[in-house]
């Protein structure tokens, strides 16, 4: 059939689509290897000829840079920092020096702790809810949509009550890990519930019933029979929820200060009043932070649609 032919029109369309999709990523990776004097230039530098890993060192091992420059001391005074800024030959410009006191490890650790724990919580709670809905039709059509409603609220409309509640005397959950973990679990549980429900729905109920005939209690049957059978779905859902938690920005922005930090928030902190956005450093941290997302994303590529459409579309 004519429509099946891959003609020049298709080729051009595909080329444009690919360029549009990939170019921003290329730019981010390219920028992460640029020295600071190439971040903003006219015309822009496409690929740096003076490629450097300084930006990565700033976020991961600033001590290496500090040693190179003989310690932090000489930059603490305003005058010296300004003097340094004039020396463009230096691998680390003065602006970068402002960010050498604190690596990004705290935020990476924070992101991992919060994402992993809130994902686990969301999956456990979501799995149980999915069983109740898929197998016991619990709450008819109302409960599933009540759970879904958590997903309908704009996060900012949730963030305001969160801040109010978290800062209320007697609760004081601001800037704490557990506060953020609970908050993340609450907003991802609709996804985990609905996605797991779609996997459970695909499993014939007779399998669990057979296990119950053999003397297992319902509780045991769901844990020992259902869980292994939807293992793939469980993993896919977990990874999907992990992506959501890892990417979350707004709650982390308004519910944390200094004690707890996540990567998205850390990104926005690479900004100085004197020299503006630190593009290279941001790009480097961005590259580091999307590595797990892209790996996980490709791993569950088959299930992404199911997750994002709450199980409405299976492939």
């Amino acid at each position: 059939m004519g429509a099946r032919k891959f003609g020049p029109g298709s080729a051009i369309g595909l080329a444009f689509g690919l360029l549009f999709a990939v170019f921003p990523l290329f730019w981010m990776v390219s920028t992460s290897f640029k020295p600071s004097n190439e971040w903003v230039t006219t015309p822009p530098v496409w690929v740096s000829e003076n490629g450097t890993v300084t930006n990565y060192l700033v976020i991961l091992w600033p001590s290496v840079l500090l040693e190179q420059r003989g310690g932090l001391g000489q930059y603490t005074e305003e005058g010296e920092v300004t003097a340094q800024r004039a020396t463009e030959s230096d691998a680390v410009s003065g602006a970068v020096a402002d960010f050498l006191t604190k690596s990004a490890w705290q935020s990476i650790r924070g992101s991992i702790i919060i994402s992993v724990l809130s994902t686990m919580l969301s999956i456990v709670v979501g799995f149980m809810a999915a069983i109740a809905i898929a197998r016991y039709r619990f709450g008819g059509n109302v409960t599933p949509f009540f759970i879904l409603s958590g997903r309908m609220f704009p996060p900012i409309a949730i963030a305001i009550p969160f801040v109010v509640m978290f800062s209320a005397p007697g609760i004081e959950a601001t800037d704490s890990y557990w506060g953020l973990i609970l908050a993340y679990a609450a907003v991802t549980v609709p996804f985990s519930t609905w996605m797991l429900k779609s996997f459970i729905d695909e499993l014939p109920q007779e399998i669990e019933e057979a296990a119950m005939m053999d003397g297992m209690s319902r509780w045991e049957a769901h844990i020992k029979v259902t869980v292994p059978l939807i293992k793939g779905g469980l993993i896919a859902t977990s990874l999907f929820i992990f992506i959501l938690n890892w990417s979350e920005f707004l709650f982390a922005l308004v519910l944390t200060y200094t004690n707890v930090e996540t990567i998205p928030v850390k990104l926005s902190k690479y900004f100085s009043a004197t020299s503006g956005q630190q593009y290279g450093i941001q790009a480097a941290l961005a590259c580091v932070s999307i590595v797990p997302l892209v790996i996980v994303g490709f791993f569950i590529q088959r299930h992404l649609v199911r997750g994002l459409t709450l199980g409405a579309i299976k492939r």
């Binding site: 059939m1 004519g2 429509a3 099946r4 032919k5 891959f6 595909l14 689509g17 999709a21 170019f23 921003p24 990523l25 981010m28 709670v125 149980m128 809810a129 109740a132 016991y136 619990f138 709450g139 059509n141 599933p144 958590g150 309908m152 704009p154 996060p155 900012i156 409309a157 949730i158 305001i160 009550p161 969160f162 801040v163 109010v164 209320a168 679990a185 609450a186 549980v189 519930t193 729905d201 695909e202 209690s217 319902r218 990417s247 920005f249 998205p264 990104l267 926005s268 956005q277 941001q282 790009a283 994303g297 490709f298 649609v305 994002l308 459409t309 709450l310 199980g311 579309i313 492939r315």
Partner: protein, 328 residues
């Protein structure tokens, strides 16, 4: 309750009595047991804060007043202050709020339509066979796996005055100098910058959903129409698209639910600026709550937004409720 017993001899009544007390294997108990955690989580993390905020939003409390929030809630019941003024001001005296609502809608509709058209175009290409299909497919999906904040920063870099977007536009215009467009500092351009960013981020999802829809269109009706003499164009509109109806609705609803909440990318790109040119509902609420610290006022606006969102989403969900609940 338990009437079906094949236990030989044990009085049914005795069994019933025990079952009535507590049978951990009873369907209802298990149902309740399994649904409880999610209910607990949602009650503590959604119902309770929203309940609290509901009362606070009736007052004009601000953290800067120095009074405790519980005190603010107390005033609701003590009758010391006039209640609900926030809502009155928001609806009658706050053009910025209503503008933000309209702007959100405009960005959403424009982005979704662009995403739909581009996604559909790409999906039809992927019905064909060509070299490297698998790799291109994966490459096209990448944007939607990137976290919103990174998407924001990436496009922030691209949209700089001396950035690559202007440079490429300059080349298209035939000059080696970049185009003279202040993407993030000009109201109209900033609006489109936000739309372009959103389209870049989420077209892959439309592409993916529409492709799975196109692949699910049964082959024989298409062949039947071909044999009846219909052109490809006609087949596309009279046979393929009607078969895609459900999938298209799902795509729009799912993305619609998300895009009206758009915050992260705009926060990074423009902070809602210049002025209020890209200020969406979420940005407006953020500024009220976290720049002006008018948490009660922001809460009121939040409730209005919430009602609007929930009503809109429920309207959108109606046609696909069946698909979502259906066992497949």
């Amino acid at each position: 309750m338990v009437t079906k017993t094949a236990n030989g001899g044990v009085p049914v009544r005795a069994l019933q009595a025990r079952a009535r007390l507590f049978d951990p294997n009873d369907k209802r108990y298990i149902g309740i047991l399994f649904i409880t955690p999610v209910q607990l989580l949602l009650i503590t993390m959604l119902i309770f804060p929203f309940g609290l905020e509901f009362f606070v939003a009736l007052t004009e409390w601000q953290p800067t007043y120095g009074t405790s929030i519980w005190h603010a809630v107390g005033t609701v019941f003590s009758g010391d202050t006039e209640l609900g003024l926030n809502y009155y001001y928001l609806v009658t005296d706050e053009p910025r709020f209503l503008e933000a609502l309209g702007r959100t809608l405009a960005i959403s509709v424009l982005s979704l339509c662009l995403e739909f058209v581009i996604g559909l175009g790409l999906a039809t290409i992927f019905l064909k066979t060509f070299w490297g299909k698998r790799i291109w497919f994966t490459a096209l999906l990448t944007p939607m796996m990137i976290m919103p904040v990174v998407v924001g920063y990436t496009w922030f870099m691209l949209f700089q005055y001396s950035g690559p977007v202007n440079q490429v536009l300059g080349w298209i215009g035939g000059t080696s100098a970049g185009a003279d467009l202040q993407w993030l500092n000009n109201g109209v351009l900033a609006f489109f910058a936000v739309v372009i960013t959103e389209v870049w981020h989420w077209t892959p999802l439309f592409f993916l959903i529409l492709l799975s829809g196109l692949n699910a269109v049964p082959e024989n009706p298409v062949r039947a129409a071909t044999v009846l003499g219909a052109s490809n164009w006609r087949i596309f509109w009279t046979v393929i698209m009607p078969n895609m109806r459900g999938v298209i609705i799902i795509a729009f609803v799912i993305r619609g639910m998300e895009v009206i909440k758009l915050f992260d990318e705009i926060y990074i790109l423009t902070r809602g600026g210049p002025g209020t040119a890209t200020e969406t509902m979420s940005l407006y609420l953020y500024k009220l709550g976290f720049q002006d610290f008018r948490l009660a006022y922001a809460g009121s606006a939040g409730f209005i937004v919430l009602v609007i969102t929930v009503v809109m989403i429920n309207m959108m969900l109606k046609p696909i409720r069946y698909e979502l609940l259906e066992k497949r």
